[in-house]
Amino acid sequence: MIDWAEKYRPQTLADIAGNSQAINQMKRWAESWDHKVPAKKGLLLAGGPGIGKTSAALALANDFGWTVVEMNASDKRNAKAVRDIALRGAVAETFADDGRYISIRDGGRKLVVLDEADNLFGKEDMGGVGAISEVLRNTKQPIILIANDLYGLTRRSSTIKKECTIIRFRRPNTSSVVRVLRDIARNEGVKVAEEALHHVAERNQGDVRSAINDLQSLVEGREEVRIDDVTALGYRDRNKDIYQTLSSIFRSTTCKKSRESVFQLDEPPDYVLLWIDHNLPYDYRDPEDLERAYDALSRADVYLGRVNRLKYYGLWSYATDMMSCGVSMARKGRYTGGRYNFPTWLAKMSRSRSIRNTINSINTKIAKHCHTSPNIASRDIFDMFRFLFKSDLDFRIRITEKLDFSEREAAFLLEEKDDSSVVRHLMDAISKMKSHEKDEKEIFADYEKKDKAHRHRKVQKSLGEY
């Protein structure tokens, strides 16, 4: 079965649903490559899933007659491969992926598309953000980065923000999604009721790809789709169900009603707990109610911990009771409202995990060096270590070499971005020391000068902000 989302991927920018402003911006950028390499060599397309970012990048290449080199998180996207393509392609001519010979003088450009760029930094094989930033600075070929989480990307790297034009994609509205679905249905020769199309579009809230997927599975084995077929499928809105549960818990006055609302929900208790936790303080505005409710959640969490350790799922129901009835009965005040939100902690947690990994690896290295455990290193040594690392250049260089700190680790210790110039200069100094390229004194003096310049710029910048 051919995936319709692939089959009907727009071939030209004109066919992209919605986002006309973004599309125009992209066109202007592509035109700026006509004669020379423009100042902003990269484009960063940001926005939620399935709303046409990748399609737009590919369609752009098609419209301008560029060859595409596409890489996404599932490729082994090591920095070298990216660099090879972006920089080597610059040397006048190159071969396209299909073996065609392209000369740059003929305008045959290669567009590098880095999909899922927000996953870029977690990858070991990347060789660091610095490598990508370097490519962005030096590339002679257009590069498009695509990301769901713009903040997650730019907080790690200031270069990316600086070297790229950032274009935000928004969810196309229901009517433009309906248009896309209608065209596909017509092309496939299936009759789909207009109401059904609307229902599918509405449900997917601007995610064109998943709307097309839904349409395909609806049509499967049918020649005609009526609105009843859609509703009979029993589409379930996961969030909506959870909202009802939350509202029951935060409003009901009986234990029975409260716990039933969780049992009806087909979700594991630890997931429900996160939803309650996130929304509770927005709803229970009396601190004493809140304290009692949190005590119940805390008890629920203890049961969940015991389940995990003992693998005894019989305790799940007590966890459920505490998070439902416990929270309901904690309430003495009367509250109104009921706008609930997705628990943002889930997204934050993955971010904190990567930071924690860095901290752990730093402490492990310090511990080994100081004949102690990572625990002790974290408790008794880390703060002073970081202080010296920040304030003393000699120490910084020596210890980075000795403990073999990575770019990421050095950046964390300095509270700088991974690809900031201080970190880059430090890494340069280390590699020079390792290769004995220069006299040590010279390397130190050189680094000191660069660090001073950096601090000077930083001071000026912060003065400028006033």
């Binding site: 630890d270 304290e291 949190y294 969940l304 930071i355 004949h371 040594i381 703060d383 120490f395």
Partner: protein, 321 residues
């Protein structure tokens, strides 16, 4: 200042170990006769346990000390696995040189569970012809009886001011620093008998100025993180839960603190808060409960939120008074 000073100035000879004269005397005797029982070093941090173990190995094995001295940390991989695999692997091979045995130094042995300690006991017996164990721990009472009875137990006490002062002066001379009288008094106060703390404070102060006085040391005290935890408590005590939670998330995410870190730092901070003394007792009790539930539970953040919700209520109660 190219090194971490605790490493740079770690004594290489037993005779140079500060403030543990009796212990040093007995260990030196072992080195001379080249006969060594299993040893158990018990005592608080920074009193010379690791230093003594390394110095002992150097005196026993000379140049070959690194091959015959194996350092393990029991808290790295909690539980029985360290004992079963790493120790056995190392203990099995024959010693190199004329020593006749090698040393396994197991740091933080009190982190091992009772099961792991029981397994360790059997291993100690099995490889006693090739290996000596030096176990190090904070509390000897956390080590099971059968192990204690197989070891010569050494109790390391917190260092007295004189040996700390003497050692710091040695470092100061080598680093061309001047420690003033009040500077020295402050270091000794901060260190509380912990040499590592003393040397760390000295190094940080030295990075600020060549003259180590009270002022320089006061500055070093502010480099630690508790500032942020104090802010967290201050916000909680104003009675705003959502703002408190935001600050908490910052600590957990941007600073990467673990739930345990936060609890520990709150504990350190509570007694310095300017609140009624009776409340401090109440808060500390709730803190202990939070840590207990954290150990039992699965989500550190929920336990911390529950704790902070309590702090919020206390804060409002105080405002009413």
């Amino acid at each position: 200042m190219k090194e971490v000073w605790v490493e740079k100035y770690r004594p290489g000879k037993l005779a140079d170990v500060a403030g543990q004269d009796e212990i040093v005397e007995r260990l030196t005797a072992y080195a001379k006769t080249r006969s060594l029982p299993h040893l158990l070093f018990a005592g608080p941090a920074g009193t010379g346990k690791t230093t003594c173990a390394i110095a002992l190995a150097k005196e026993l094995f000379g140049e070959e000390w690194k091959i015959n001295f194996h350092e393990l940390n029991a808290s790295d991989e909690r539980g029985i696995n360290v004992v079963r695999t790493k120790i056995k692997e190392y203990a099995r091979t024959a010693p190199i040189g004329e020593g006749g045995f090698k040393i396994i130094f197991l740091d933080e042995a009190d982190a091992l569970t009772h099961d792991a300690q029981a397994a360790l006991r059997r291993t100690m017996e099995k490889y006693t012809s090739t290996c000596r164990f030096v176990l190090s721990c904070n509390y000897s009472s956390k080590i099971i009886e059968p192990i204690q009875s197989r070891c010569a137990v050494f109790r390391f006490r917190p260092l007295k001011p004189e040996p700390i002062e003497k050692y710091l002066n040695k470092i100061a001379k080598a680093e061309k620093l001047k420690i003033t009288k009040d500077g020295m008094a402050s270091i000794i106060y901060i260190a509380q008998g912990d040499m590592r703390k003393a040397i760390n404070s000295l190094q940080v102060a030295a990075s600020l100025s060549d003259t180590i006085d009270e002022d320089a040391l006061y500055k070093t005290a502010t480099i630690a993180r508790p500032e942020d935890v104090k802010k967290l408590l201050d916000i909680a005590l104003t009675g705003k839960f959502l703002a408190t939670r935001e600050k908490l998330d910052e600590l957990l995410i941007e600073y990467g603190l673990s739930g345990e870190d936060v609890i520990r730092q709150i504990h350190r901070t509570i007694f310095d808060l300017s609140i009624d003394e009776a409340y401090k007792v109440q808060l500390v009790d709730r803190l202990g409960e939070a840590e207990f539930r954290m150990v039992e539970g699965s989500n550190d953040r929920i336990q911390l939120e529950a704790l902070l919700a309590h702090f919020v209520v206390i804060g409002l109660e105080m405002q009413k008074k």
